[in-house]
Each structure stands twice: as structure tokens, then as C-alpha cells.
């Protein structure tokens, strides 16, 4: 299974990446993904606690189970307006 990652704001700057794909196992929850991300992107570790996640354009809680081909957004605290 694989998902697509989208990075925004500070996270985009820190990773130098807008989009990425990552392989996940079945039954991976958002919470599990955070650990995968910390492993893969060490310099965003300290931010991961304050990051919100979206799945296919909807905010998702940490216990949501990811599905194949989900688009997962890594969203720093928002500041629109």
C-alpha cells in the first residue's frame, strides 16, 4: 500500500518537498504514520506534535486508519484570513 504526502508552510520548507509517496502497511493509523515521518524526515520531528493531518481533503484524527492511495496532508497550525 502506498499513500501520497503533501507538505505545507514550514514543513514544506524544512523537508524541501511538496509531495512524496510513502509505502505503508495495512492498518496503519495516522498515529503510526507520524513515527514513519519522524524516521524519514528528522528535521521536522520537533514539529510533528503540532501538525494536523488531512486525508483526502478532510481533517483526520490520529486514530484514523489509512487506505491505499490516500492523499495525506501535513498541515502546520493554520493562519489564513
Amino acid at each position: 500500500m502506498k499513500i501520497k504526502l503533501r507538505f505545507f508552510g514550514q514543513l514544506k520548507e524544512l523537508t524541501g518537498t511538496e509531495e512524496a509517496e510513502i509505502q505503508i502497511k495495512e492498518n496503519t493509523r495516522v498515529e503510526d504514520l507520524i513515527w514513519l515521518l519522524g524516521e524519514r524526515y528528522p528535521n521536522i520531528r520537533e514539529f510533528l506534535n503540532h501538525v494536523s493531518f488531512s486525508i483526502d481533503n478532510e481533517y483526520a484524527s490520529k486514530d484514523t486508519v489509512l487506505a491505499d492511495n490516500n492523499e495525506v496532508g501535513l498541515l502546520p497550525p493554520i493562519s489564513g484570513g
Partner: protein
């Protein structure tokens, strides 16, 4: 109607969107780039959006606002890209039969926009730049299959 745009927002065009002969009161909110932030002079501001999701959230915001108040017309537009001082970053126009509703609905829409729409802004100072401290959007718990 809702929109996300990288073009300069024209307030005339915004108000045209809520033209209707059956409405008596129109309230328009404009957010503009300020020349200072916490005492520090700001030169310009960059707005970044998760475009696909922002459009979904703006549409939800519109629906929600129209559900809560008797809105005749509503138009919400958010700008992206690099903005100069004084430029409009967000505009919300609401037309209702009664002004009380137009004020309440417009106020609600801008407050809620800041809590739900995935947009980020960065301030540029003469000696550097900084992402603006934002708010963590509320997330509904995933409904567990508990029945």
C-alpha cells in the same frame, strides 16, 4: 460562491457577487496586509494554501453560514501568493434582508474561516521572514464502529 485566487481581489467585483434587488443590507469584511506585526514593521506577506482542500473547506463554510442565517447571497474569496502592504487577503460579502443577520453571518464566516481553511501566511520583515503563529484546526474524532 467561494473562490481561491492568486489575482488581486477587487472589492467592486466582490460586491457585484452579492448584488440582488431583494436584499437590504450588505456587510463586507476585508482582511488586508498590515504594516506591522507585534511591533515589527512588515514589508509584505506570502499566503500559501492547500488549494484542493481549501476549496472544500470554503464551500463547507459557505454552506454552514447559510444554514445558520437567512443569507440571500454570500461570496467568500481568499488570496494566495505574495501580497504587498494594504492588499486584500480575504473578502467576505454577505447580503441579507436584515442587517443584523448580515453582520452576524459575516462575522461568523471570517471567524470560522480562520479556524478551518488550510492557509498559511508568512511575514517578511526588512531583516528576515517568519511564518505566522497559527491555530490548530479542530478534528472530529473518527467515528469508531462501536455499535
Amino acid at each position: 460562491m467561494v473562490e481561491l485566487t492568486s489575482k488581486k481581489i477587487s472589492t467592486d467585483a466582490v460586491l457585484e457577487q452579492v448584488e440582488a434587488h431583494s436584499t437590504g443590507g450588505v456587510v463586507l469584511f476585508l482582511g488586508r496586509v498590515r504594516d506591522h506585526a507585534e511591533g515589527r514593521p512588515v514589508n509584505k506577506m506570502a499566503y500559501e494554501a492547500y488549494a484542493e482542500m481549501a476549496k472544500v473547506k470554503l464551500a463547507e463554510l459557505e454552506a454552514e453560514t447559510c444554514q445558520k442565517w437567512p443569507v440571500k447571497k454570500i461570496y467568500i474569496v481568499h488570496r494566495t501568493g505574495l501580497l504587498e502592504l494594504g492588499e486584500v487577503s480575504v473578502a467576505i460579502a454577505v447580503a441579507c434582508a436584515h442587517r443584523k443577520d448580515a453582520f452576524a453571518a459575516c462575522r461568523y464566516a471570517i471567524d470560522r474561516l480562520k479556524e478551518t481553511v488550510p492557509v498559511w501566511k508568512k511575514e517578511y520583515f526588512s531583516d528576515g521572514e517568519a511564518w505566522v503563529k497559527g491555530v490548530v484546526p479542530e478534528v472530529k474524532k473518527a467515528t469508531p464502529s462501536s455499535q
